[in-house]
Symmetry: C2
Subunit: 471 residues, 2 copies
């Protein structure tokens, strides 16, 4: 009986304390959202990054200006430490504006909109003119074989599926055409490749992005460009009428030697467990067209906002909160790899990393790369997010820059904003500041800060112990 009473008292106390904690958490989340929505800084920072700096491709002057600017802004926040982490990055330049047209026998030239893919080699100085073979994907090359492909321009035209609710899934189903399409077509002797832009929207804006020649020797590399969806549909229609039409394009991008750049890092030291590190980040580089406002200016300023919100809200974290603005996500991931490499060398203990790299849209939740027990702990926080309409807590990938931190115990997560509009802007000239809604951006920052607040408060120690016991 006595035992039972003791147990009851203990259970009651635990319950009261859990309830008080939960109330305190609710209040702190509300404080975080209020500060983000009423006195947020993320939108002003994004204005500067987009409109005063602009596109920030790795190795460019603008990338360096973004490093300087964000470092200075982090220093203004009065963090415990702000530093630059050197990293060598690829340097590729677009050169003159690309030029392309379709020409039928004796017919007029019809200009179409293209953009060189990042990393592509140039066409010959006089441009490249050839017949076109339209395919729906790399897997069709084998069917046609060298005889049909040699000397031609391969036109990859598989569209993103519109029926998939998660647009990133639709992107994932097509991106091989852009990334490996040139390398694969070159094996069959193709003269060049043209890739349908990766967007659901039918418009005039081509979308660039990274590509790789893999192991292909330099003299075998062929020029690769994205064509706007509207012109992809046009070209496809023209090919049905005139399979013998010529496609002409001219572009002179260049690959240079690697140059030095930096990850920008700032941190608030943990008051109780400074050696346990929580990372929040986005990537500072962007493509050269547009201003990289959604990709990934949004993630950068939201991550900066997270540490600012901690300071403003007077929340002293127990663990170390580190904001990392990664360099070179778009065409190399050198920043992400370097960060993980240094962390490993210094035997740093990262308990959690969160990346925002899916646009500055209304936050829906998080995709979480963790062990089941860690995931369940995170799931238990879900009710705290209900007032903010944040409802998506699912297992899945996190973010490219933080993925090198994966080691089986560090919990990784990616912010998942509404994804419907993302590919309207992604890697295109339309990815500009005006395409970002202030409230949506701020809600994302507050949602990230709230998640980090809970991770910092509760950690994953209990789960680690449990795992140890299981050994």
């Amino acid at each position: 009986m006595k035992k039972a009473i003791v147990l009851l008292v203990v259970l009651f106390s635990l319950n009261v304390s859990a309830q008080q904690d939960s109330e305190q958490d609710s209040l702190n989340l509300r404080k975080i959202y209020d500060l983000a929505l009423l006195q947020g800084k993320s939108y002003d920072w994004l204005d500067h990054l987009s409109n005063k700096i602009g596109g920030r491709l790795s190795g460019s002057v603008n990338a360096q200006r973004a490093v300087d600017y964000t470092k200075a802004e982090l220093e203004n926040l009065g963090l415990d430490r702000v530093w630059l982490q050197p990293v060598m990055v690829p340097k590729w330049t677009r050169g003159n504006p690309e030029y392309a047209y379709i020409q039928t026998q004796g017919g007029p030239t019809n200009t179409v909109n293209i953009l060189a893919l990042g990393g592509s080699v140039a066409t010959p100085d006089a441009g490249l003119r050839a017949k076109v073979l339209e395919v729906q994907g790399i897997e069709q090359l084998e069917h046609y074989g060298r005889k049909e492909i040699e000397g031609k321009i391969i036109f990859y035209n598989r569209p993103m599926r519109a029926d998939l609710i998660h647009t990133f899934e639709a992107y994932g189903g097509c991106v091989d055409q852009r990334y490996s399409g040139a390398a694969e077509a070159a094996k069959y002797g193709a003269a060049g490749v043209i890739v349908r832009s990766l967007t659901h929207k039918i418009d005039d804006h081509p979308h660039t992005g990274s590509m790789s020649y893999g192991e292909l020797p330099v003299n075998k590399r062929i020029p690769a460009a994205a064509i706007s969806t509207k012109d992809a549909e046009y070209l496809s229609s023209m090919l049905k009428l005139n399979p013998d039409l010529d496609f002409y394009y001219k572009m002179n991008p260049r690959n240079f030697e690697d140059v030095e750049s930096f990850n920008v890092i700032g941190e608030i030291k943990g008051s109780e467990r400074p050696d346990e590190i929580i990372v929040v980040g986005g990537h500072l580089d962007s493509w050269d067209v547009g201003d990289g406002a959604h990709d990934d200016g949004a993630g950068v300023v939201q991550s900066m906002e997270v540490v600012r919100l901690f300071k403003e809200a007077g929340i002293r974290p127990k663990r170390t909160i580190r904001v990392v603005l990664f360099m070179n996500e778009e065409n190399g991931l050198r920043g992400g790899n370097k960060y993980a490499e240094v962390a490993k060398k210094n035997k740093e203990n990262h308990i959690f990393a969160l990346e925002s790299d899916a646009g500055g849209f209304t936050p829906r939740g998080f995709s979480i790369d963790a062990r089941e027990s860690q995931f369940q702990k995170i799931k238990s926080w879900e009710p705290l997010f209900k007032p903010y309409l944040v409802h998506y807590f699912e297992k899945g990938g996190s973010g490219a820059d933080i993925s090198p931190l994966k080691n089986g115990s560090t919990v990784l997560a990616g912010l998942r904003p509404d994804s419907q509009r993302y590919f309207d802007y992604h890697h295109a000239a339309t990815d500009t500041f005006d395409a970002v809604n202030k409230r949506e951006l701020e809600l994302g920052a507050a949602t990230m800060a709230s998640f980090i607040y809970l991770v910092d408060k509760y950690g994953f120690d209990d789960i680690k112990n449990e795992a140890d016991i299981l050994k």
Copy 2:
């Protein structure tokens, strides 16, 4: 024992049948979403309504063109019946473009952006020039009293709260300034009113909307205009420096006699219970500035798409599905009232009504006005929507046009899209087709059709019986 076995068999059968139903439902929802995303018509319809017709204020030629167009399009769908329901609506015209400026003693004039509120009287022909008293809401008028107010322009400048997650809540906290501000200020002898636009965005676009003079005699009515948020902040700053500045505005809107217009209605007759009616609708009228693409062109084309999706998917409803395109939501609600009046007169049995009137953004779920037991039945369908990221099923208001159907047994619901951007466009020149994302619009239509599919299949009879038993 025999009884127990029978019971088990019954339970097992029920379980198998429930599971089969649920699988069938999943497949049908997937079919609906596929059709909406792959072969949707809503976006094309909205293009026409927005770009070929445009703003559709009640009583205007454009409103009639919208009636003709949507009736013809519904007829093309091969519904069982399409008809027009006559309704008398108010007619108000904006007249010449409004003109307004701020002038300090001996200083220059600074033009500001205003729009007459819908229903406002004109200024005198030569315009209205007066001193300005800035207030944060109607409740402050009493504090100032007639002495401070008489002959002045009352400037209502309470902004929408940015900290509220549901932007409609922020709107609800300010809309009294626009709707009743003039009537209340006139009681204290004010010469006119200027109301801060109801949007979170700080820009140059004034947002109009309905206002009422209540019981105020015609000769006491004073002109009322919305001022853009940027100019509201400017005027407020100027007033701090120069409390004696003059505000001048000139506008010549006119109120006419009521004219005849129409609700546009189409239906698919129910195969088993044709007398049980399910309504889905939006409102056909819009303000005269912009194209009314979000408000409520989106709701109109989504509602039309619901019946089209039923036809395309080959789903023959058990109950009658009726699409109703209401006239005059913006400044009178005459269409909604007329529809309910005729339904009552004809003793029609409406079991459910759904309205989409919150913009064509990514659907988050539904706000439901129902008895607890009805609500719980709807909640049980929530898992079916999870693949579509539709998660919000909460009790609350439905839609203005369907609210006159409220009778304690009809279930009412409103589509709840993401609301963060809605007031960027609401009632302003920016509410145009290009502000609507095709996928977001289509997802909304599919979400509505899915909800209607479930209501048609399961109805609320069991609950009605339960309520009868309780009597």
